[in-house]
Amino acid sequence: MENCIFVVMETENGAVKNVGFEMITPAKEIAAAKNLKTVAVIIGNDVDEAAKQAGNYGADAVITVDAPAYKTYASDEYTSVLTTLAEKYKPEAIFIGATPNGKDLAPRVAVKLNTGCAADVTAMKLNDEGKIAFTCPVYGGTILAENVVETVPQMATVRGGAFKKAEPSETSVEIICEDEITLKAEDIKTKIVDVVKEISEAVNLEDADVIVAGGRGMGSPENFALVKELADLLGGVVGATRAPIESGWISRAHQIGQSGKIVAPKLYIACGISGATQHVTGMVGSDYIIAINKDEDAPIFDIANVGIVGNVLQVIPAMIEEIKKMRA
């Protein structure tokens, strides 16, 4: 398998996280131009289905390392497995989803392989020298840096939602099963003693066509329910700024922005959101933005297609009424 690109798929209870499938798309483009194979790498437990799916989404081959020890992400174990695979297969590039786990894994592997890693990649292309030019947002997304990794493998963590996954098509893909690597006791430095799932809802902001997001201006958890009501009416998903999450009105699975999800729905409705850079950077790519804010100078209006100056507690219910009337 010389000459390949590794696309590392993170799984949760055997299911691949979306960003894994999404990364296959740019990997294949680069692989085609450079005559490389796109190889999905899955470290986990009970990942047969995940491996098949990786093929359906376009991977040329899949390497699995399947063992109970890998059921949930464990930093020391995953670091050793991915490092070992990279040393064996010598990929030209390694893409890892920029999830909390991916961002834990990538830098550790980068040191082991003594290579550079571009972080939070939102776009990539081949440059004239045949290297991958990665686009990475810096300064909260107000500047885009084009980064080239001079060393090999060219590592990158890739933001969820930055690339579109392919339409899956039934394919039979070559699956290589690699052995579990048993670490020496002294090499396992951290131990997860408890896993708490507080956030049970699946919040799929990246794939949503419509997002209705609420900010501090919603005022209270009760009022925040209006955001949900409008989202439900439009068949959309609820988003939030950091403020209502810190106040405990909604779980952080809904956070949009620099420390949350990057989204680009067809319609984004920002309710009681000021438009701080750290938030805007996560939603500015939306096709159509409606902003509701009582402060006519709120920066969110600078990027809105339609800005409604008014109180969210009046505007949202009225908007809900109007939409219901239109549909009646």
């Binding site: 949760e12 930093s75 670091t79 909390p100 786990n101 834990d104 830098p107 550790r108 040191v111 082991k112 003594n114 290579t115 550079g116 890693c117 571009a118 972080a119 939070d120 030019a133 947002p137 810096v138 300064y139 909260g140 997304g141 107000t142 500047i143 885009l144 840096a145 084009e146 980064n147 990794v149 001079e150 430095k189 951290t190 131990k191 003693v193 896993v195 708490v196 507080e198 956030i199 810190e246 620099q258 420390s259 319609l267 500015v284 933005i289 409606i290 006519e296 990027i303 809105a304 297609n305 339609v306 800005g307 409604i308 008014g310 109180n311 009046q314 505007v315 009225a318 939409i323 239109m326």
Partner: protein, 263 residues
């Protein structure tokens, strides 16, 4: 408990930074501050120190003026500070930064006459946001690492931390020494008092140079090179509707939205 907190001085993150006429980040005149996540790390370290005992040292790699960030740390929990001069080290990537920090850790341990039990880093910086320096440093030091923690306590001679995950959190235990990176906890960093600021001003900040650390040149060269900078395409502001009455505003808004076939 000997604690090191790594701090980077960055431009104020509430200021929108674009490119200047020569195509570089327009940070001239922007107030420089300690990176937000590093201040969370320092606050967490300070609480740990207060609940147990110990000393907190802060270190920054940067120019002379980065001493200001260190001074602000000395006023809210740290009692010693070192500046690693970035002369000749201006273009480092995370990999190189973690290398220099790992060398600085040994040097500071020598100067302090004590080994560190814990190294705290912010989860990421607000300027480059790679989030890689902490885990890379752990890897270089060959110690345990937990990223994105929001709480910490001592347990059985090691530490027990609360690590944020996408679905909730993990409780993770690790032996000491270890490196942790800190996410935004439930609390905010404390403010300095007049008195603590005065006291901080009296603490000398020693400068460590690249030569003091005996750095290997090839390891301080960036593996990740910035080949271009650009601003994302500006989104044009559309219409802003602000009529005399709420009813008029709503009517106009719905008209525009229907016209655009949004609903």
């Amino acid at each position: 408990m000997e604690i090191l907190v790594c701090v980077k001085q960055v431009p104020d993150d509430s200021v929108k930074i674009g490119l200047n006429a020569s195509g570089a980040p327009a940070i001239d005149g922007v107030t420089m501050v300690a990176n937000a996540f590093d201040t969370y790390a320092l606050e967490m370290a300070t609480r740990l120190k207060e609940a147990n005992e110990g000393t907190i040292t802060v270190v920054a790699i940067g120019p002379e003026k980065a001493k200001d960030a260190l001074k602000s740390c000395l006023a809210v929990g740290a009692s010693k500070a070192y500046l690693v001069s970035n002369e000749g080290l201006e273009n480092m990537d995370s990999l190189a930064t973690s290398y220099v920090l790992s060398k600085a850790v040994s040097k500071i341990e020598e100067l302090n006459g004590a080994k560190f039990d814990l190294v705290f880093c912010g989860k990421e910086t607000t300027d480059c946001t790679t989030g890689m320096v902490g885990p890379e440093l752990a890897e270089r030091l060959g110690v345990g690492c937990v990223t994105g923690i929001v709480d910490i306590s001592l347990k059985d001679g090691g530490i027990s931390v609360k690590q944020e995950t996408e679905e909730g959190y993990n409780t993770v235990e690790t032996a000491i020494p270890a490196v942790v990176t800190v996410n935004k906890p439930e609390y905010d960093p404390r403010y300095p008092t007049m008195k603590s600021k005065m006291a901080a001003r009296k603490i000398p900040i020693d400068v460590i140079t690249g030569a003091d650390l005996g750095l290997e040149a090839d390891k301080t060269a960036p593996a990740v090179k910035v080949t271009a900078l650009s601003e994302p395409p500006k989104k044009q502001a559309g219409v802003k509707i602000n009529e005399k009455t709420f009813e008029d505003t709503m009517a106009k808004a719905m008209e525009v939205l229907k016209e655009a076939k949004v609903f």
